[in-house]
Symmetry: C2
Subunit: 127 residues, 2 copies
């Protein structure tokens, strides 16, 4: 299985709950992060624009996820002193670098969702 060598023989990262890879994966694995990052791939968005782009996120979670992503250095926050104030969020250079791997996963999900749906139906029918 040399083709997936980067996933193999790494006793450390599965075993260690504090492993940095786990830590990072947990963050992007939360309910809204990837959705926000992917939306920002289309360009900077303001707070309210993001709410329109992802209608089922609450203000609370949007604000919190923005904060977390900014803290991780994946997005940047710019305040324009208009009135009322407007705030723009954009990907940082670091944030841009996650788009490729994320896109690969999205492509996989898109390619596989039919097979998965079918597998679920079969499973639910036989058990």
């Amino acid at each position: 299985m040399f083709s997936h060598s980067s996933l193999e023989h790494q006793p450390g990262w599965s075993r260690d709950p504090n492993c940095p890879v786990r830590d990072v994966l947990d963050r992007i694995g939360d309910k809204w992060s990837t959705l926000i990052l992917v939306t920002l791939a289309n360009g900077p968005h303001r707070f309210s624009a993001m709410q329109r782009a992802i209608p089922d996120i609450s203000k609370r979670m949007l604000a919190q996820t923005f904060r977390d992503l900014e803290r991780d250095g994946l997005i940047a926050r710019a305040v324009f002193p208009t009135k009322p104030p407007s705030v723009e969020y954009r990907l940082t250079p670091l944030g841009e670098t996650i788009l490729e791997p994320l896109a690969a996963l999205v492509r996989w999900a898109d390619r596989s969702h039919a097979a998965i749906t079918h597998a679920r139906l079969t499973y639910d029918r036989t058990s």
Copy 2:
């Protein structure tokens, strides 16, 4: 931004809470799925072997995540009628196909965790 075209101009999938891509991403985004899939990349594991490979997972969550992944058709469960019984879990062909995109994300996490840690320190210090 033509390089990330697969993430752009897809009003449907961010807006629609029931989008299949979201659904699939949510599943692999849970706490244990990726860890289990990545561990199975090294070959089939029995229940107890997986517990040793991921020491901080509880029996309950391991059983549940195994069930969910089997339901999605990503892993297969084989019971050998020894006594006491032994059960082996392995990736299905479909399950194998997720390893590449997952590996890309793991590589990104590995490459970026230093930058992220640094960003967090800076953020926490200035705010």
